[in-house]
């Protein structure tokens, strides 16, 4: 086997491991950029996963499943938004409660879907292009959600950096009082950003239950929502670095499994720890330069906005 033949399946697996993280983290990045810290990503992902699975298995349509996940994730985020933005509840506590609520709700709804199998989302192979050696299967043989994750990330990067509404959204995250004084509708913008974050978390969940492991199992996110949260800080709230972070995390997760199978004699416990260790290490490196965090973190992140009359 040549080196490249070995590489293709690894890269393909890395892509599937990274996609749910990238989807959920992209949403959270936008939410946090608007100054809202929603720690409920794990719960929203789970609710998205069960919504997608339930609808897809009832209708036989993956697309409807994806739609259901977007709506379900957004609905969860709406609960959070009402609590924290309108009622000014503490964001950290409400976010944690949202995760716990999502875990319970998805388990309750999912109880009757345990043990049901589902055909995975089809891969959108493009005739001709998918047959190109090496690059073909990697670039042109993925399912819809993988392409979506890239498209949405690119759109978010463009939106935040190059559009007027994007700049307004960032302004709201930096100083809600100033934005308010300038006449921007802080609360409406935050609602929008939070709902977008919820919908994206739902989409990440849908990827898990429709494509990654096409089944429903309780708690199937197994902490991926928390990783997505960490990735946003890791990326210092920048879309480009988010892509890097998500794929680095996915790659280390997969490579350690391959290394074990190949008989590399490093304790497996250490290998399992590696992705987390790498994330912490980068976080520490970034945090050492406190100006960098201060420059990049939305200044009003997690702060309650009380509009002055």
């Amino acid at each position: 086997m040549s080196g490249l033949d070995w590489l293709i399946p690894v890269v393909l697996t890395v892509i599937t491991a990274s996609t749910p993280l990238l989807l959920a983290a992209t949403g959270e990045l936008v939410t946090e950029r608007a100054g809202v810290l929603n720690l409920g990503v794990e719960g929203m992902m789970l609710v998205g996963a069960i919504a997608a699975f339930a609808v897809a298995s009832a209708t036989g349509s993956g697309l409807l499943g994806i739609l259901a996940a977007l709506l379900a994730g957004a609905a969860m985020a709406l609960v959070f938004a009402v609590l924290t933005i309108s009622m000014m509840a503490n964001q950290v506590a409400s976010g944690l409660a949202l995760t716990i609520f999502g875990v319970g709700l998805s388990a309750l709804v999912g109880a009757s879907f345990v043990g049901i199998a589902l055909d995975p989302l089809p891969q959108l192979s493009i005739p001709g292009l998918s047959a190109i050696p090496v690059l073909g299967p990697i670039l042109f043989g993925q399912d819809l959600l993988v392409y979506l994750s890239f498209a949405i990330l690119a759109a978010v990067a463009w939106f935040l950096a190059r559009t007027r509404p994007g700049l307004v959204l960032k302004a709201v995250g930096e100083s809600h009082d100033s934005a308010h004084a300038l006449g921007y509708r802080v609360i409406a913008i935050r609602y929008g950003a939070t709902l977008f974050g919820g919908a994206m978390a739902g989409l990440g969940g849908a990827y898990l239950s429709l494509s990654y492991t096409p089944m429903w199992a309780e708690n199937m996110t197994a902490g991926r929502g928390w990783i997505a949260l960490a990735l946003v800080v890791f990326a210092t709230w920048r879309p480009g670095r988010l892509l890097l972070g998500a794929y680095m995390f996915g790659a280390i997760t997969i490579l350690q499994l391959h290394a074990q199978g190949a008989g590399v004699e490093i304790p497996s416990q250490f290998m399992s720890m590696l992705p987390y260790l790498a994330t912490i290490l980068v976080l520490v490196l970034i945090s050492r330069d406190s100006t960098k965090i201060r420059l990049n973190a939305p200044a009003c992140l997690g702060k309650v906005f009380r509009p002055a009359r």
């Binding site: 070995w6 399946p9 690894v10 697996t13 599937t16 491991a17 749910p20 609960v79 009402v82 609590l83 009622m87 000014m88 509840a89 506590a93 409400s94 409660a97 949202l98 716990i100 609520f101 999502g102 875990v103 319970g104 709700l105 388990a107 999912g110 109880a111 345990v114 043990g115 049901i116 199998a117 995975p120 898990l208 990654y212 492991t213 096409p214 089944m215 429903w216 199992a217 309780e218 708690n219 199937m220 197994a222 902490g223 991926r224 997760t253 997969i254 499994l257 391959h258 074990q260 199978g261 190949a262 008989g263 004699e265 304790p267 497996s268 416990q269 290998m271 399992s272």
Partner: protein, 361 residues
């Protein structure tokens, strides 16, 4: 307090409702109360799912003389002690804790609550009110190994491991010995995911193993994900804890099924009748605690052989760990005519010949 504050509070309470422990059965003046502590969700369709089937069997068999409760997805460690203590304090007469990692917590709580009976699965700490029980799943894994040895073409079996504890190492060895009994060229590659339950990671481990040449996937983790990967990649695999054929109609060869029903009902009944005694139960195929799912997706002669091996283990003519057994270096460690004692099986921390890599310490 203004309206906004009270609304805020009400909403907070509604959310906190999600925190309430899962509890089954209504409160009534019952004869006995039986509690269960699970390491995973009952919806895992694997280990915890089978224990919960056992819980339901108690309700079925003893009707309204018994009330059962369960707490699922309990983390091993300090949290477990709190949960077990809570069950003990809330009037439960018998408490089953169903994961190895609950051992110390169970032993501690048992000491504090001498009037409550405890049953701990897969552990080794016992006392007057603390029994242990487990099943000889390795017997089923030996049968799986025989099937894999017959059917593999690449002679590489991929094994998704959870944690390198004796229970899992024993399973790997039994599988290997079964495979070697029919095919001396088989090798096992093990990948540890260091989790009992993470469908995504289990699936990824299976993918990595298939990419490295495995055409048989065995698993000692709790979700159907590895089997599902086998199905999608066109290789064969084995179900874990329960029949998982619906996840892999073309790939599942068989599954080692845990059947706790008989034991659970008997122990609950013993408490009810007042003759419960502490003990150590290690049931195998002969007791019905371990059963095989139908042999599917294989030629008739292999299915016939698998059935014969199952029968031989059930009636005691075949012991999976009977000599000669060689360790990884090729040295005979169990001589012909001898079998590995239960005591040695319980602390097995070495691989037999044919398993690749080292047992992580």
């Amino acid at each position: 307090m203004n309206l906004r504050d009270s609304l805020k509070r009400a909403a907070g309470l509604a959310l906190a409702g999600g925190l309430v422990l899962a509890a089954a059965g209504a409160m009534a003046d019952d004869d006995i109360k039986v509690g269960f502590v699970y390491v995973g969700p009952i919806g895992d369709h694997g280990w915890t799912y089978r224990h919960d089937i056992g819980r339901l069997a108690i309700e079925e068999a003893l009707g309204d003389k018994v009330e059962t409760t369960f707490v699922e997805s309990v983390k091993e460690g300090a949290d477990a002690e709190r949960v077990i203590q809570q069950l003990a304090a809330s009037g439960h007469d018998l408490i089953f804790t169903t994961s190895f990692g609950f051992m110390n917590a169970t032993a501690k709580v048992a000491k504090r609550n001498p009037k409550v009976m405890f049953e701990h699965a897969t552990g080794y700490k016992r006392s007057n009110n603390l029994s242990t029980y487990m099943a000889r799943f390795y017997e089923g894994r030996y049968v799986s190994g025989v099937i894999a040895g017959k059917l593999t073409e690449s002679n590489i079996v991929g094994y998704v491991g959870s944690f390198p504890i004796p229970e899992v190492v024993r399973g790997i060895n039994a599988f290997m010995l079964g495979a070697h009994s029919v095919n001396p060229d088989v090798k096992i590659k093990v990948v540890w995911v260091n989790s009992w339950y993470d469908p995504g990671k289990e699936g990824d481990a299976a993918k990595a193993l298939i990419d490295q040449g495995a055409d048989m996937i065995a698993q000692h983790t709790d979700s159907p994900a590895p089997l599902q990967v086998a199905e999608n990649r066109g290789v064969m695999g084995f179900g874990q804890a329960s029949d998982m054929i619906q996840f892999a109609p073309k790939a599942q060869l068989t599954a080692v099924i845990d059947d706790w029903n008989g034991y659970y009902v008997a122990r609950a009944k013993a408490v009810m009748d007042g003759n419960w005694e502490s003990g150590d139960t290690w049931g195998g195929m002969d007791s019905g605690m371990v059963a095989m799912a139908p042999f599917t997706n294989m030629p008739d002669d292999v299915a016939k052989l698998a059935a014969e091996v199952t029968e031989a283990i059930s009636n005691g003519t075949l012991h999976p760990f009977q000599g000669p057994i060689k360790d990884q270096s090729g040295k005979v460690v169990v001589a012909e005519g001898e079998t590995v004692s239960d005591e040695d099986l319980l602390r097995m921390d070495w691989y037999v010949m044919g398993v690749e890599g080292k047992v992580p310490k």
